[in-house]
């Protein structure tokens, strides 16, 4: 391995830019080394499903050309990016972690992908995930689980496990994931990196394979708050290809990371500390103490509908999924199991193609929408969703941000929960609420357990207040919050 490749794992976006500007390395040299390093490291975690060296090197050449001619190479110049394999990339296989799409090569790029490349970002490859982003452990990938970089017998978390692991391992500077019920924040917490779920509508979903459209978000990962904020800055903003993307003004996130958090009012929701394991509670509460030392005012608050959030989420998410996954019918998406009639062909293709968790969710979603059950489940859940959003609205009248754990416990063993779907779903309790309310939320590392497993702390703010969230997270990080 070259000297550059060996030092690559800890580079942040600012150091990359400094090195490029000082001509310590070119973007092409950096990209070649990053690809080499990522391919050597990958067997340890199974984080990447596909590498795209041609695309990466072409992007790097564009950056080098701009640098040579004195043109602005963009805010992400030379920054390596791993992209979750549910986000489409033109000409680069996009599997969604599914057998069904093993050979699917999209004819277009997601808006987030176009924007990050225009900003000078270098996509190295596509990362492993739970099939169609359905899972909390990455064990539902048709291509094998992602191993936690801190403990190979434990899960990376999911569903964006590959993106979290890639950033934690240092094979990419930043990564894109997607979050429907915690799929960015939970693996970020398990792998000790920063993971952000922006406000619903902040980032275009165009090119994000649909799981549950009213809950799906694209979100960034980074080893620092600054890098995650930088990536969000480049991909955020209105896109006419996604009617739900917001017109809201986009502030300069980095400029707002000024360390000033004195007097910020923070709420600790008591419902989020019930049932929290002591090994996760320790680092989170230490994090809260640190925020107090920085001058934040902390008070206990209540979000009473929290205990209903998992049931609410799994009704709405599976209902939407059952409709969104109807398109995988053996006609348009590469894989077909032949049969004599059209209907038998659909059934055979879907029966053979989907994994166990996808089938479970399609079945559940179809059931809760079916005649006679719609009011009892789906409509009821939509009303409970209103109550959950109301809880947050009321809380944000009193506090500027909410501090909470990310998951009840740190990364669990591979295989430990896979046979008990209810237990697996219940572990999403602290993350599904943010998605249901559409508010921005993020996971920042706040320390480790006695056994050395990372623990994440969650910060949630008002709709479109990512800037306030980043300012708090950045001050926390700089005060040493990450090391606990």
């Amino acid at each position: 391995m070259s000297a550059l490749a060996a030092g690559i794992a800890t580079l942040d976006a600012r150091q990359v830019r400094k090195g490029l500007d000082a001509r310590d390395f070119s973007a092409v040299e950096l990209t070649s080394s990053a690809l080499e390093f990522a391919q050597v490291e990958n067997p340890q975690t199974n984080a990447y499903l596909t590498f795209c060296p041609e695309r990466a090197l072409a992007a790097a050449e564009r950056v080098d050309k701009k640098l040579a001619s004195g043109e602005d190479p963009g805010p992400l110049a030379g920054v390596t990016v791993a992209v979750k394999d549910v986000i489409v990339t033109r000409g680069v296989r996009t599997t969604c972690g599914s057998r069904l799409l093993e050979r699917y090569v999209p004819p277009y790029d997601a808006t987030a992908v176009i924007r990050l490349e225009q900003a000078g970002g270098i996509i190295l490859g596509k990362t492993n995930c739970d099939e169609f982003a359905m899972g909390s452990s990455n064990e539902n990938s048709a291509f094998g689980p992602v191993m936690n970089p801190f403990a190979p017998d434990r899960v990376s978390g999911g569903s964006s496990g590959g993106s979290a692991a890639a950033v934690a391992q240092g094979t990419a500077v930043v990564a894109l994931g997607s979050d429907t019920g915690g799929s960015v924040r939970q693996p970020a917490g398990f792998c000790g990196v920063v993971g952000v779920t922006p406000t619903y509508g902040r980032v275009s979903r165009y090119g994000l394979t649909a799981f549950a459209s009213s809950l799906d978000h694209i979100g960034p990962f980074g080893r620092t708050v600054r890098d995650a904020a930088l990536l969000l800055q480049t991909i955020a903003g209105r896109d006419e290809c996604d009617a739900t993307s917001a017109f809201a003004p986009l502030p300069d996130y980095l400029a707002q990371q000024n360390g000033d958090v004195k007097g910020r009012k923070l709420g600790l929701p008591r419902e989020y500390f019930d049932g929290l394991s002591s090994e996760s509670a320790g680092p989170v509460l230490k994090g809260v103490e640190l925020l107090k030392k920085l001058g934040c005012e902390v008070k206990e608050i209540s979000l009473p509908a929290t205990k209903y959030a998992v049931a609410c989420y799994y009704i709405i998410a599976t209902a939407e999924a059952s409709a969104n996954l109807a398109r995988y019918d053996g006609v348009r998406y590469t894989t077909r199991v032949a049969a004599d009639t059209l209907s038998d062909m659909y059934r055979a293709t879907r029966g053979a193609g989907f994994g166990a968790e996808c089938k479970r969710r399609i079945m559940l979603g179809t059931y809760v929408l079916s005649h006679g059950y719609y009011d009892a489940y789906y409509l009821k859940a939509q009303k409970v969703r209103t109550l959950i959003a109301e809880d947050f609205r009321k809380a944000f009248a009193e506090v500027d941000a909410i501090i909470a754990p990310v998951s009840p416990s740190p990364a669990f063993k591979i295989g430990e929960k896979i046979d008990d779907p209810v237990e697996m779903y219940l572990a999403d309790i602290y993350t599904v609420t943010g998605d249901l309310a559409g508010i921005p939320c993020m996971s920042v590392p706040c320390g480790k357990t006695a056994g050395g497993l990372p623990v994440g702390m969650q910060i949630l703010t008002r709709h479109f207040d990512e800037a306030g969230m980043f300012r708090l997270a950045d001050a926390f990080e700089k005060a040493g919050g990450f090391t606990g």
Binding site: P107, V331, M363, T366, K383
Partner: protein
């Protein structure tokens, strides 16, 4: 029991999923457990609550409409690149209509 094996077969049919007997058995148990948990929602009185339709409900109804402009679509060959089976510029499927 929240759901019977017959209902599971019926739902699989609605969802266009061919399942093995083993999968049906497993799903009957799993869905039963999950639906039992879903029933906790009935503890909440929601008779005066509006169902949520959109999380950013403060926005105007027309806030996200765009101008209706022509744009070139994917060309036929590109659109068919991922077809399971294609022919003469179309997707091919098993015969649907008997003559």
């Amino acid at each position: 029991m929240k759901i019977t094996v017959q209902e599971v077969r019926y739902v699989a049919d609605l969802a266009n999923l061919k399942l093995t007997d083993q999968e049906i058995d497993r799903l009957s148990k799993d869905l039963d457990d999950i639906l039992a948990h879903m029933d906790t929602l009935n503890e909440l009185d929601t008779s005066n609550v509006q169902p949520m339709a959109q999380v950013l409900y403060e926005a105007e109804d027309t806030a996200t409409l765009r101008e209706d402009r022509e744009r070139p679509p994917l060309d036929n060959a590109t659109a068919l690149l991922n077809a399971a089976q294609a022919g003469a510029g179309y997707y091919k499927v098993p015969k649907v209509i008997e003559r």
